[in-house]
Amino acid sequence: MRRIGIDVGGTNTDAVLIEEGRVVRAVKAPTSEDVTTGILDSLQSLGSTGVLAGRKIDGVMIGTTHFINAVVQRRSLTRVAALRLGMPASASLPPFCDWPEDLAALVRGGVWMVEGGHEYDGRPFMPLDEAAVIGAAEEMKAAGLASVGISAIFSPLDPSHERRAAELVAQVIPEADITCSSDLGRIGLLERENAGLLNAALADLARDTIAAFEKAIADSGVDAPLFITQNDGTVAEAGQARRLPVYSFASGATNSMRGAAYLSGLSDAMVIDVGGTTTDVGQLKHGFPREANSVVKVGGVRTLFRMPDLLSIGLGGGSHVQLDPLKVGPVSVGYRLLKQGIAFGGTQLTTTDIAVASGVLDLGDRKKVAQLDAATCRKVFGEAARMAEEAIDRMKTEAGDVPLIAVGGGAFLIPEKLAGVSQVIHVEHGDCANAVGAAIAQVSGECDQIFKDLSRAEALSAAQGIANDRAVAAGAARASLTTIESEDMPLAYLPGNSVRVRVRVVGDVAPG
């Protein structure tokens, strides 16, 4: 297996080549304005080392913040027609009702609500009003809308109304990009619908971006399929990522945690990713980041995305250091480190200057920081260690000492011994952990729905079957599938042994 992992970050685009479980080469190129150039540059710089010559590459896996930035920065968004199947329920809270006004004004092309949807137990709530769907589609067409988000009550249990409505809309607007909320998973109509509407708003950007990525790969001479990494540390084939770009929102942090797992060989550990300004602490379970269960806001919109549960603190390689009284961070010089740090001729004392003074790092001019004595350096490192210990303790979910993997450019701040930690592991290529994480990403499938009148074992097994099928549809090899999450929750107030089951499986990318 030979894969290229690329992480398009705010400052650098990192690329790594992984061959038979080993990082062969890692390169960095500045991230470009148009994204494509940065990827092309990093692939060419990888190629110029000769490691790609005459080799078959199984996949190029790209992690990007492109889609989430479009939402946060309110640019390159498509106007969307929202079609909700659930009348007469939910009428007082129409689609877009909890969006920030500025974002809604850009995205809301129109709202149509018609009868349809299901009950929690799969009974129809109301029959689907097909004539009203067709009428809505004709109005969308007249308004020039070609991106449509469809949602229905309890569609994760029974997506048939959403699917039928999608067919009807496609008959009226054949070129429409249609997102069904049931493809995005969870119970919670507003949050699921919001995810669907955001997805529909990214339709044009996703098409252009994925085409640009494919072009960059082709231009670089690499002949390999493109995969896009997702929030949960897995990848989607280019076609699926184009259809469901919201799943690729937050892949950066996930990739660095997955990369840490890979580089260290540990699948259950804490991970501390120390960047220039912030440090993220998370927990690996079975090689994947533990997910946040709560509502995640993206650009001010409530959604229920699969996102890693991370604690961020203001500690990094560029953190300001104040000696009396001692204070490290949260302010940072960020990417201006090479200008403003004392070791580089600037005037701001940073954690990097301390590391240079104590000989931990060989950067800049050590003479410029000669006035920092060993006791001062120890004190600053001690404070950084204390901050890390506190964050780790807050994120740990079990008593006792656990191993900790330290990655990221600022990992020098993490000492070999920390309270609550059995062992601190620094890894080679740790500064490119996110590109490594992209390169090793797997494919996942998830099922989250309510089962009624089944034994617990039967419900779990039914959910498992659905999750497996979804993983295979997303490009996984069936033989490699393993379950990494299985959770069942009996439901209050509902009769008949209703249980909500969530199962997630992952597998290796099936050979093309």
Binding site: G86, P88, A89, S90, A91, S92, L93, C97, D98, G117, E119, Y120, R123, F125, M126, I153, F154, I187, G188, L189, L190, Q283, R290, N293, S294, D309, D393, R394, M395, K396, T397, E398, A399, M489, P490, L491, A492, Y493, L494, P495, N497, S498, V499, R500
Partner: protein, 360 residues
């Protein structure tokens, strides 16, 4: 007669405070809050009045949703349906209500009367019948007071209308009502047994909407200033800090239509090395520290997110979540022998004599 128009900011605070008073249950008030934001945008306004300003022969409608919070997350809460539960009841008893009130201030039902009130242009009495959230209809101050448990109106957004006309007890109202709710798809807007002004004055738990607004305002202000939100709650309420820790295990099972289970926590900060377990039946019922009972119903056990100060529900609490647990004092009505019979630890199957954390 003094009435106070609530600002939208008051209602934002009410949603946060009501969720704290939900003591783990009652459903998150987010969707009712969204409804109120839209109603205010459309020009609707709601007014709060004191129970003491009611005439003895006024009629007061008690508004609440019954059902599974999960179904509400899909069907969403609809304000016109709540208003219809009230008008159906008015038609049934042949009386007009002078005001509305909450059945339970805790959770989403703490905000719902205002959704009906906005359409019906009725004031809402600053009183409720639980002072918190509880899972069953007989767990109210009016049931403790021996007032009638019927009639109850139950309506559905598709147009269903039912009345539980005559039942011998509150427990029967709960049983029959629950059956109807299940057939509706496990959610219904209800108007609980109508009360006279005299009954509300005698048996209502007073000032609870104001209390919820004050708690919510304290939390929101602390969030803005990056102060400790839990301390902020304790500065406006005579509560007691019980514990700080993180959730290490949550075992849930659904029995007889309720979510029962146990949440376990490991101590943090000054509580390091100490373990807390809390039994729940939708709401947090009994908390044990290192095996000994620490707090129990009817004292309010509030589990709060340590960072945001917002309440954490028994349905959504998750592994690893960092929480602070506080107790708030209950209404004196529940501290009488009759009160404890309805809502004390034995009413939930725990063979414990009630001991308040506030009596020590």
């Amino acid at each position: 007669m003094t009435r106070r128009e609530l600002s939208l900011d008051d209602i934002e605070s009410l949603a946060v405070g009501a969720w704290v008073l939900g003591t783990g249950g009652g459903g998150n008030p987010y969707l009712p809050l969204l409804n109120m934001r839209l109603l205010y945008k459309q020009g609707h306004r709601v007014e709060l009045m004191e129970a003491s300003d009611l005439a003895d022969d006024d009629w007061v409608g008690t508004v609440a949703n019954m059902g599974a919070p999960l179904v509400g997350q899909e069907r969403l809460t609809d304000s016109l349906t709540l208003a219809r539960a009230v008008t159906v009841m008015e038609r049934h008893i042949g009386q007009r209500f002078a005001a509305l009130m909450s059945m339970e201030i805790g959770g989403a039902n703490g905000v719902r009367p205002f959704m009906a009130a906005a359409h019906l242009e009725l004031p809402v009495v600053d009183s409720d019948t639980m002072g918190r959230a509880y899972p069953e209809l007989q767990m109210t101050s009016v049931a403790v007071g021996g007032l009638a448990g019927d009639p109850v109106s139950l309506v559905d957004v598709r147009g269903f209308e039912s009345i539980v006309h005559k039942v011998p007890s509150w427990k029967w109202a709960e049983r029959i009502g629950r059956k109807i709710v299940t057939e509706y798809g496990s959610v219904a807007a209800t108007c609980q047994p109508p009360r006279t002004g005299a009954e509300v004055k005698r048996w209502g738990i007073h000032g609870t909407t104001t209390k919820a607004i004050a708690i919510g305002a304290a939390v929101r202000e602390a969030q803005r200033r990056h102060d400790d939100p839990v301390e902020a709650i304790l500065s406006v309420e005579p509560g007691k800090l019980l514990y700080k820790g993180k959730a290490v295990d949550v075992a849930r099972r659904a029995t007889e239509g309720f979510l029962r289970g146990i949440a376990r926590f490991d101590g943090l900060d000054e509580f390091k090395g100490s373990q807390l377990t809390i039994n729940f039946q939708n709401e947090w019922i009994v908390a044990w520290r290192d095996g000994a009972p620490l707090a129990m119903t009817p004292d309010l056990i509030c589990v709060l997110d340590s960072v945001s100060g917002e309440a954490v529900g028994s349905e959504t609490i998750r592994y690893g979540q960092r929480v602070t647990v506080i107790a708030l004092p209950p209404t004196p009505i529940f501290l009488t022998p009759k009160g404890l019979e309805h809502v004390g630890p034995r009413a939930f199957g725990y063979d414990l004599d009630f001991r308040s954390v506030f009596s020590a």
